[in-house]
Symmetry: C2
DNA sequence: TAAATACTGAACCACATGGTTCAGTATTTT
DNA sequence: AAAATACTGAACCATGTGGTTCAGTATTTA
């Protein structure tokens, strides 16, 4: 289950690809919570929730600490910086690409028009 | 393989959770490419690359069109808007949460200091 | 000390993933 | 028409995922 050396972006995007896990992150941003509390909130067995928390922990998005019999989950130190950066950069590439294509279309239109002119001359 | 009704965020984050697929997106932002070209660039069989492209297509991040025997892959219409928005919102929650915790710590420090004063009085 | 609580680990399940090979089909190219 | 190219689908493989149950252990609480 542990997945030692997945590249960090792989791990965090994978962690974010599950509705329950995104929900847990939002929950923890409101207040720390025990496994039991999370399991109840998301209608799941303790064991099931433990696994989700494990995935989030592995990705550095959550940290946990056990005191007595209760394991408390908190937000981790990673703030999705790299993930935000990757997506932001992609959006810029996307924009650039579509602008480029637009220009090519414009170019073609102008040429067509010019050809039309020629024929009519 | 197809995964008909995965929520869109699930599908796109899952699509982004693989290094090869992120690479394909970057590649396509530079120029359209055939399956063969992508497969070569990423040292993979045609069949393997086809699957990755399938995942990206399913997530709306890539579109493909077959002309003759060549299937050309292009960037899709989704620009990772929702994904960026989710992450941005999370970062704000994260900030808020940590500020909150800081304030609690400050509060405790002040109290401690006050107690110290009292004892010394 | 007994009972309740909170978690943990192993084992299982069905299905997904990331890859492969192999055997096609359809479309160029020669 | 033959050969090369480009893809496609099925089948297989090992491993991961999202969940469960069951049988514990450790820690409170009564």
């Amino acid at each position: 289950m542990v997945q030692y050396f997945r590249p960090p972006l792989d791990a965090s995007f994978a962690a974010l690809s599950d509705t329950t896990r995104r929900g847990v992150l939002e929950q923890l941003s409101r207040s720390d919570a025990s496994i039991t509390e999370l399991a109840e909130k998301f209608h799941m067995t303790l064991t099931g929730m433990k696994k989700h928390v494990g995935v989030l922990e592995q990705a550095g998005l959550v940290t946990t600490e056990k005191v007595g019999r209760v394991r408390t989950c908190k937000l981790g130190l990673r703030r999705l910086e790299e993930e935000a950066a990757w997506i932001e950069r992609y959006r810029q590439l996307w924009d650039a690409r579509f602008n480029e294509l637009d220009q090519i279309v414009e170019e073609l239109k102008r040429k067509e028009k010019a050809d039309g002119q020629k024929k009519r001359e």
